[in-house]
Symmetry: C2
Subunit: 549 residues, 2 copies
């Protein structure tokens, strides 16, 4: 038997488009002699469809689509993720399911047992868990079919396992001789190695070949990285599909190829891949064709512009320099050189007149200390307005350029540099921005070296430097990682060798900036804990930094 | 035995403040001769603490607080909601629990069985459910203690019940002779009547007195409305505490008072109460003392200013008129009269110069059609900037004035009129804004009649009226309610007698405005389905309006 893994990039709620894609990949599988083709979790509706899953008409539509797909299945077996109604009198209205289609019919439906409800996942909000999930027969083989989290039962949260059952082990005990898992498993840095280890362990433990079909593509904050893979019954990797793009793998069960080394990507290459995919798909799935990026001459905006060009091509990116009285000559020059290097359209819109006009308009109400926060903010807001005006006029979208370090401590202006439809770097710490810049420049100088080497500055008041207002980024980024990703509090972080006062100030700034992040555009998740839907914090609250008693 | 229900307003993460409040109310209960005092669900940490519940140090801190509280309990029994660690080897790390404290000790801990995971609730994200919840003894009585959702087991979602078990019924079968439920049950319009019916039915069905202690106060988007109550064993209401404020009820079990009629509030009075509480607590729990409201002369901003004055007092509210070339004389006058009526500080900041400055600055890039969207948006953004500048300078917060109808269809400007820290009307449809205005004016004309009676207009281009761009509000509001609250799609709504084309355009606009709502400030929930945390929708997606096949 030949099994194809069809790693596709569906669009949420686009049933016609997704159905067409599934049919096209089924045809490819058929042409390559496959007997069975496997599609990702929720391939029909896209993942995550969120509260659309609560709409009964939406579920009916996905069932109509699966029936259409079944009708055309013929001799090719098709496994595909969808949502099915819960037939029981209790519980959530739907299951997160996989259908097995063959000879014009839906031959089997299996449900997900383990429903992830943490970080960006809300599956207990929508789905009822499976009470059992037995293998089914196809062409003399017995197939154990599981869905995404079902394979992650063994992961620990501290000392405790989240789940008590191992649905895949149960399938093996019930006589499965092939294990298939369909997934929509989001990218985070380094996760692919962990994922491969887990999938390999299922193969090895159960002494069965294991087929893992993951989704690819970006959906708002989440990017799926593909890299579907096949393991032999010793748990050795046989094949791994491409990262961050659609792909199809066909493996002959009777003639399993020898173990293969996967194409490993470096961490920074992976991150670039996720960001480029995230930008590309956010634009294409929103049917927006061009982006506008404010170019300050600094490293963040340079990296965003370079990622945008890689995502969309140079003709769909406009860079805009908006110098003020505090912009250095060097910065203005660096922005221009960057645009030349990227070969993008470049506009220069000085903001001094607008800055003066605001001061004049507000002169009766606000006295004029140019160091004031409102004056710094107004410059950022003028720039945000200009970018939005150009995007409004031409039907494009603004990309924000702020990084995770700034967003963490609120070193950014709401309705100013936070204005835009997508925040590509909002989960990328400043230190990683430097790595990205180095990676982008690996063959030639695209980002001017000066943008990389000079001390970061918001240039909103005379002589301003980030490090006057913030701890040095290498220190800040470590504290942020310990607090946001590893969930350590004040005392635990201080114990790792940081000044208690510095940690306290930093954690307090993180708390106080929550109201800004609530209004931030979606970011592209690359870390285990990104801001946005995966991190839910109250705004109006008491101070609690995690001190010892 | 005398039982006190202490309906308090805790602040999330303020353990010291909440502990002090609990001690103060315990002293009150003791002074009134109570043997047992009951506090709401999660009274120690506040509700919802969201991802703070995932922080082990936060949980340890709440356990330290409960131990301190137990140490001082003496002869008074105290029931209070908190989070306890899950002792099992599997599952989520914590339970949503209630402690019974007496004679210096934690005498019993009981966990929540039914964990709401829908709308604004994410309890399956944080908590492990109870496997059982038996009654415990106190002074010769057997107390069945349940937590919030445990009382809502019977509610139906369509034809299906969400839950299979009735934890309260089980407690009655196990010999409880008093039923106590501690809650953090958010306000939505009309919910109190439903809630009373449900609680009454537990008393009646089990033939036991039922004590229901709800939380009060606002926490970001959620307002708890209090109205704790007591039912006799016939299910008759004996006592109901105040709405939207802290209160204590003491009832003698042996001398139950006769049935009482609750103080019923009209729907509009309730809504006003929720909004006022929401504004008040958002400010006080964020430690912000003043607000700024842009006054357009229209009804929305007038209602927001009046609510702000009711919440904070007239000295903490500034109204700002920002007339443009398109502002009518009438609007400017109405804004001024409103400020006089409310006796608030009033500033006038004309925006014509800034409008011209933007046009000049952008003249090389954008040709000048004054009807263009960018020009309308820039006026709104100038106003947003001015409000934010004043708030930045004085350390205050901007309240946005947009209503739910506008926000639904995206008839609002991101970084313009959507700029602010809280959106009091973002869950209030335009038709309800009119009712609120009438209610505010019930004794004397506070909101100028002209603001109420004139045709709504954004006044961003010559002669503009809302009804040129939108369906009439009575029609729009019905469509929005059917779609957003009742989850009906295109065909189902059209069948109710609306033009299919109109419904299609409206639903499409709702879809397309999702990116704006993602960046909106928190709104105050008054409906079964508010925008914000309770409604989670993808942005980049295909079009799906709920058509018939």
């Amino acid at each position: 038997m030949k099994i194809a893994l069809a790693q596709i990039n569906p669009t949420i709620a686009d049933f016609n488009g997704n159905l067409k894609k599934i049919r096209d990949f089924s045809a490819k599988a058929r042409n390559q002699g496959a007997n069975l083709v496997v599609f990702p979790e929720q391939a029909l509706s896209g993942y995550p469809a969120l509260d659309l899953w609560e709409d009964p008409a939406f579920i009916r539509e996905n069932i109509r689509a699966i029936k259409k797909l079944a009708a055309g299945s013929g001799e090719l077996g098709i496994i595909v993720g969808f949502s099915s109604f819960n037939g029981a009198r209790f519980g959530k209205p739907i299951h997160n399911s996989a259908a097995f289609l063959h000879q014009g019919k839906i031959k089997a439906v299996r449900h997900k047992t383990l429903l992830p409800t943490y970080d960006v996942f809300d599956e207990a909000r929508y789905f009822e868990r499976a009470s059992s999930n037995s293998p089914f027969k196809f062409k003399g083989k017995t197939i154990g079919l599981s869905i995404c989290e079902d394979a992650w039962f063994g992961e620990k949260n501290g000392k405790r396992k989240l789940y008590q059952t191992d649905p895949i082990r149960l399938q093996a005990r019930e006589g499965a001789d092939i294990l298939i898992n369909i997934s929509a498993s989001p990218f985070t840095r380094g996760k692919n190695i962990q994922r491969r280890k887990i999938m390999s362990s299922h193969a090895k433990k159960n002494k069965l070949p294991f087929f893992y079909c993951n989704m690819t593509g970006g959906n708002d904050e989440i990017v799926f990285d593909g890299r579907s893979c096949v393991f032999d019954r010793q748990g050795r990797l046989i094949h791994q599909a491409k990262a961050f793009s659609e792909d199809i793998l066909v493996v002959d069960l009777e003639k399993m190829p020898p173990p293969a080394s996967p194409n490993e990507m470096s961490e920074i290459e992976e991150i670039e891949g996720a960001l480029v995919t995230g930008i590309q798909d956010y634009l294409s799935k929103s049917k927006i064709s061009k982006v506008f990026v404010g170019l300050s001459g600094g490293i963040d905006s340079a990296v965003v512009a370079a990622l945008a060009v890689k995502s969309l091509g140079k003709y769909r990116v406009t860079g805009i320099s908006m110098p003020s009285r505090y912009s250095s000559e060097g910065s203005i020059f660096d922005a221009k050189i960057l645009a030349q290097n990227l070969q993008i359209r470049f506009l220069s819109v000085p903001i001094a007149n607008l800055h003066n006009a605001y001061k004049e308009t507000l002169t009766n109400f606000i006295d004029g200390n140019p160091e004031d926060l409102w004056e710094q903010n107004i410059q950022a807001r003028i720039r945000g307005n200009i970018l939005m005006a150009l995007a409004n006029k031409e039907g494009g979208m603004v990309l924000t350029t702020g990084n995770k370090s700034e967003l963490s401590v609120g070193y950014c202006t709401l309705y100013g540099d936070m204005s835009g439809g997508l925040a590509p770097l909002a989960d990328v710490p400043k230190e990683t921005v430097y790595q990205l810049a180095g990676w982008i420049n690996r063959e030639r100088e695209i980002i001017p070296l000066n943008s990389i080497q000079k001390a970061p500055s918001a240039e909103l008041k005379p002589g301003q430097k980030d490090e006057d207002d913030l701890p040095p980024y290498p220190v800040l980024d470590q504290i942020l990682k310990l607090h946001i990703e590893q969930r350590l509090g004040l005392d635990e972080i201080a114990k790792k060798g940081f000044s208690k006062k510095l940690v306290q100030e930093t954690l307090r700034r993180i708390e106080l900036a929550e109201y800004k992040r609530r209004q931030a555009p979606p970011c592209i998740k690359i870390s285990p804990k990104a801001f946005g839907v995966g991190r839910r914090m109250p705004i109006a609250r008491g101070t609690y930094l995690g001190e010892a008693p």
